[in-house]
């Protein structure tokens, strides 16, 4: 007889697989991505300059969704193997592990792969070409809070790991959570370094464009990819911090195991998702073509 946590975990896994399969089947339609691209256009305040531009944006939207859905199915396949073969299936931690994998592997790897493999526009050889005169960095695409969150969380995680090492010397901590925390910190460092490398690859990709509107659309997808990369690094950095705080709370504040201690280290994931989703689908003002910049911004830039 399965307990309710195992049933719930299995049900959610099946649900994710069904959603991914339906989305993949629906994306075979020729007009798929039309609604999503119009929604992106409204959210970003970027019009489609021509039908060809709209088709390119629709194609990219569709490719991104398909990459994410295939990644989701791959994650479900791996998670199912874990579900069937380990006792994790009856743990409330199981779905959080799946969620973490989705954020770190599916969204991040999917966005980067599409960004590196495909060009959004392909101007004709005789068409005019435009390019920015200066090299842009992550700071040009991602806001300060979302840009700095991974580094700040990693520093906090490293400091809290030092704190649990000191705490362990005074009040010994169980070996398993201690090792897990250090392993999570090592993973966060690797994820941060890997993320920076991926950012450099994304930023080095050419942006062929025949007008400033095409360039802005390309920048929009690039901004989203860079934001997702920072979200992955921030999520990875939160994990050791959450685990370390739980260990410290267990050792010094709480009397015995509690629900707070059992799940606290996962709570940061939805919080980070909210933080990063706030900036998705928008371009920083300086990246808009002059004719689309908000009037206030233009007025601010004009000398008195």
């Amino acid at each position: 007889m399965l307990d309710w946590i195992t049933t719930f975990n299995g049900g959610v896994l099946c649900g994710i697989a069904v959603v991914a399969a339906i989305a993949l089947a629906a994306s075979q339609r020729k007009d798929f991505g039309e609604t999503a691209s119009y929604r992106a256009s409204v959210r970003a305040r970027l019009p489609f300059g021509s039908e060809a531009m709209a088709v390119s944006i629709r194609r990219r939207t569709r490719t991104l969704l398909r990459a994410n859905m295939w990644g989701l199915l791959a994650t479900v396949a791996v998670a199912t193997a874990v579900f069937v073969s380990t006792p994790l299936s009856s743990s409330p931690q199981f779905l959080w592990l799946v969620t973490l994998s989705i954020f770190l592997v599916v969204l991040t790897a999917g966005s980067v792969a599409v960004g590196l493999r495909e060009r959004l526009f392909h101007p004709a050889p005789t068409a005019m070409r435009v390019a920015r005169a200066r090299a842009l960095g992550v700071a040009d695409y991602v806001g300060r809070a979302r840009r700095l969150a991974p580094l700040l969380l990693l520093i906090a995680a490293a400091a809290s790991c030092v704190a649990i090492a000191v705490s362990d010397a005074m009040r010994p901590v169980n070996f398993v959570p201690l090792t897990l925390t250090y392993a999570a910190l090592a993973f966060a460092v690797v994820a941060t370094i890997g993320g920076r490398y991926a950012e450099r690859l994304v930023l080095a990709q050419p942006q062929p464009a025949s007008d400033t509107l095409e360039l802005a659309w390309d920048d929009l997808f690039r901004a989203d990819t860079l934001s997702v990369l920072r979200m992955g690094a921030a999520t990875a950095a939160w994990l050791p911090l959450g685990l370390a705080v739980t260990i410290l709370a267990d050792a010094w504040l709480l009397q015995g195991p509690t629900d707070f201690a059992a799940l606290f280290h996962w709570w940061g994931i939805p919080a980070l998702q909210v933080l990063y989703s706030l900036g998705q689908g928008r371009l920083p003002d300086p990246l808009y073509p002059d004719f689309l910049r908000p009037m206030a911004q233009v007025a601010e830039e004009q000398p008195a």
Partner: protein
């Protein structure tokens, strides 16, 4: 923003060079800002990497941009086009003074007097 028009009679190299000069003059590119790599800009603009490299070389020779090893190419701190044009004119003037074997102090006095004369070119 740099614009390359393949149908223009102006060669792409010159369009790129003047585009960068305009970007500095307009303030779009300020001192110390990093320029795209040669390869990246060539792919963005659909021109040969040699075209971009040549434009960068010329601008570097004129002192407008500078290459800092593997860090990339940057707008030089003294990259004001008007000031650079003045420096080039001064260098040409100095060379002429030397060719004419004139005294440097006398040459400076003549320049000072010319600068103090209002609108001497139309006099």
């Amino acid at each position: 923003m740099i614009v390359i028009d393949p149908s223009s009679p102006v060669p792409p190299f010159e369009q790129l060079r003047s585009g960068l000069v305009d970007a500095v003059a307009s303030g779009e590119l300020s001192a110390g800002e990093r320029l795209p790599t040669v390869r990246r800009l060539a792919e963005d603009l659909g021109v040969a990497p040699g075209t971009v490299a040549r434009a960068y070389r010329e601008l570097e020779a004129s002192g407008m941009i500078e290459t800092r090893g593997r860090n990339g190419t940057f707008v030089a701190f003294d990259a004001d086009p008007a000031r650079q044009q003045l420096q080039r004119a001064a260098a040409a003037f100095a060379a002429q003074v030397r060719d004419l074997r004139l005294d440097a102090d006398e040459a400076l006095a003549i320049v000072t007097a010319a600068l103090r004369t209002p609108d001497s070119s139309t006099a």
